[in-house]
């Protein structure tokens, strides 16, 4: 009991003092909270700069059609990044999202012979199950999530190939394919789904006990455990969220294409990590928010789309993304890590 009290006290003392030090330093230098806000939300500043730049660069960029297009294109990485953010706040990582996306997309198409309900539930169930499997292995064996999910990345891709036998699958159910085309006003249903999910996840993260304890686990796992947080349960739940989101991404992607290939989603785990890190979530855990992740996801989408409209070869976009990621890391270090 004594140790619990002392940890609580030290946490309670630590947090506000650190924050106030940062504030006073910035206030001393530039006398405003604006810089502080920019430092914390730099990704939104970058996004706005990109939006303005591309609007001047191409007449086709800042149109309702194109912007809603960007939203749909970003939604798939977006779904994946919701789960990834939660797991990273816990201090873990999930490299299986791309492979899980592929498996769920193939199941959503392949199971359609048994009816649409079976196909969708099957795909969602597979995502949840794989997330549960990852989570339970991480908490029960004590092997780091990087290794567990690195194995999963390779193994789940193997499951996809075993299930499909290396063949592409195409949808037979027309109403399934129509779902990808539904839009409310100019905004596609897939994009709305993404925005609703990420808003709900942000609410859960900042307003529920599960969210608060997620930060506590990432900040100091041992302290959280001592304070009575059910660490294992939280970690497993977040891996299940990640699996479920991968399933949603896989299903929506296959509705849009009306097909699924076994190589679907290759390297998506990398894009997802890039989006989440650009959004300011720390790999070390304990810090981050879905608000920033949304900015990271949209920035990636805007960069790809805008460069494309300006006829930049896609090769250069890859270089630019790598450079932006490393620059973001340097900027973050300057602002938060004196």
């Amino acid at each position: 009991m004594k140790s619990v009290n002392s940890i609580d006290k030290s946490m309670a003392q630590d947090a506000p003092t650190r924050k106030s030090v940062v504030c006073t330093q910035h206030e001393r230098f530039l006398g405003g909270s604006l810089l502080h806000w920019v430092g914390r939300n730099s990704i939104w500043v970058i996004l706005i700069v990109c939006l303005i730049g591309f609007s001047f660069g191409s007449p086709y960029f800042f149109t309702v059609f194109n912007l809603s297009n960007i939203l749909v294109q970003s939604a798939f990485i977006g779904f994946l990044s919701i789960g990834m953010t939660l797991i990273m706040i816990n201090g873990g990582i999930d490299l299986t999202v791309g492979s899980t996306l592929a498996l769920c997309a193939c199941l959503a198409i392949g199971l359609q012979q048994y009816g649409l309900v079976v196909a969708i539930t099957g795909a969602l169930g597979a995502g949840l199950l794989l997330g549960f499997l990852n989570g339970i292995i991480v908490v029960k064996t004590g092997v780091h999530s990087f290794i567990v999910t690195l194995g999963g990345l390779i193994g789940i891709r193997g499951l996809v190939f075993v299930y499909t036998g290396e063949n592409s699958l195409s949808a037979t159910n027309m109403s399934f394919m129509n779902f990808g085309m539904i839009s409310i006003g100019p905004v596609s249903l897939i994009a709305i789904l993404f925005l609703v999910f990420i808003a709900f996840a942000q609410w859960a993260l900042s307003r529920t006990r599960h969210g608060r304890e997620a930060y506590a686990i990432g900040g100091n796992r041992q302290a959280a455990e001592n304070a009575g947080v059910k660490v294992s349960r939280h970690i497993v739940i977040n891996f299940m969220v990640s699996g479920l989101m991968a399933a949603v991404a896989g299903i929506t992607m296959s509705t849009q294409m009306g097909a699924a290939t076994p190589n679907l989603g290759t390297n998506y785990e990398l894009w997802t990590i890039i989006a989440v890190v650009l959004g300011g979530t720390k790999l070390q855990g304990g810090a981050g928010a879905l608000w920033g992740t949304l900015g990271g996801v949209l920035t990636l989408g805007v960069l790809r789309n805008g460069m494309n409209l300006m006829h930049v070869q896609p090769f250069y976009v890859l270089v630019l993304l790598g450079v932006v990621l490393i620059l973001a890391l340097i900027v973050d270090k300057q602002f938060n890590n004196e």
Binding site: T141, H144, L270, L283, Q313, L318, I326, K333
Partner: protein, 322 residues
């Protein structure tokens, strides 16, 4: 007799050497079902197949031992392979190899500066490099495949296709490199400094080790071994696609982890890496000989990687579950 059994302590043995025991069982099962599996020809074949991933893993082992990760090696392999193959017909094999080695050193140095000196997170930096180098490769080739016009007329073929004393040259490069780097790691002051930085960076700095320079050097070495692997690969195939190295970073890491080197740094050896990479090669080869599709090895790799690290963690903890 009782004392002997007690000293052998079977569950302990299973925990500590579990992965090797499982591997021996696997070897026996495959050998009973396939006449060709344990022939010298097939063993050399497996060694030649793993020599490219293996050579890369030698340098990456230094990075991992120093407590960092390198996810950029796959893209780096693509880049250096298209460089050496693309330049071969233009400037001749010797200069082409030299340029490829320089490119590898340069990319390693960029990683090393960003991670060692600027002290950025290695996972994210090398992830960024993975993407950036993919782009650089495509810019260099313009998206086209590169090739060598006359594969039979160049001494460049020796690195991938040659034999020395009936053993393929790539195997000599891989095992020779392993011997040299293994000695460097185990017997020199530099090797001890790598372990010190990976084990406890603060303590190593306090005892006068220049941790920044050590990390930098590990990445430069990683870049160099990748370029050497690219020479083997280019010479073997005599051509290259732009994405030839895609996914190699995962195979390299899988082999290193399987061998028992800790991803947290400070613990592991070159021998462990060689064993891990070779085991993966034999699993792949054995499953193919048993008639399984190539993707079945991925399922097995899944279980093997997690199982190996689990046994390692469990033997240190003293219990199987946390």
């Amino acid at each position: 007799m009782d004392a002997l059994i007690k000293r052998m302590n079977l569950p302990d043995l299973a925990r500590q050497q579990g992965i090797l025991i499982a591997f021996v069982i696997f070897l026996v099962v495959v050998a009973l079902n396939s006449d060709t599996f344990l022939t010298i020809g097939n063993v050399l074949q497996v060694l030649r197949q793993v020599s490219i991933v293996g050579t890369m893993a030698l340098g990456v082992t230094f990075v991992v031992l120093s407590g960092r990760l390198d996810l950029s090696v796959g893209s780096m392999l693509s880049l250096t392979t298209v460089v050496v193959v693309g330049l071969h017909d233009k400037i001749g094999p010797g200069p082409a190899i030299l340029v490829a080695l320089l490119v590898g050193l340069l990319v390693g140095a960029v990683n090393g500066i960003l991670i060692g000196y600027v002290r950025l997170n290695s996972l994210i930096v090398t992830l960024g490099m993975l993407s950036a180098l993919q782009g650089v490769t495509l810019i260099y080739t313009g998206g086209k495949n590169v090739g060598i016009a006359d594969p039979d007329a160049t001494w460049f073929a020796i690195f991938g296709r040659g034999y020395f004393l009936d053993v393929p040259v790539p195997v000599w490069i891989f095992l020779g490199g392993a011997l040299v780097l293994g000695v460097v790691l185990a017997k020199t002051a530099y090797g001890r400094q790598i372990y010190a930085v990976g084990g406890n960076e603060v303590a190593s700095s306090a005892s006068g080790i220049n941790a920044k320079r050590i990390v930098f050097s590990a990445y430069v070495l990683s870049g160099l071994t990748v370029a050497v692997a690219a020479v083997i690969l280019g010479s073997r195939v005599m051509g290259s696609q732009n994405n030839v190295g895609q996914g190699y970073e995962l195979q390299v890491l899988a082999g290193i982890i399987l061998g028992g080197t800790s991803l947290l740094g400070g613990s592991g050896t070159i021998l462990k890496t060689v064993i891990g990479i070779t085991i993966l090669g034999f699993i792949k080869n054995g499953l193919l000989l048993l008639g399984f599709a190539y993707y079945v090895q991925w399922l097995v790799t899944w279980g093997v990687i997690i199982g190996a690290v689990w046994l390692d963690v469990a033997s240190k903890r003293g219990s199987l579950f946390e």
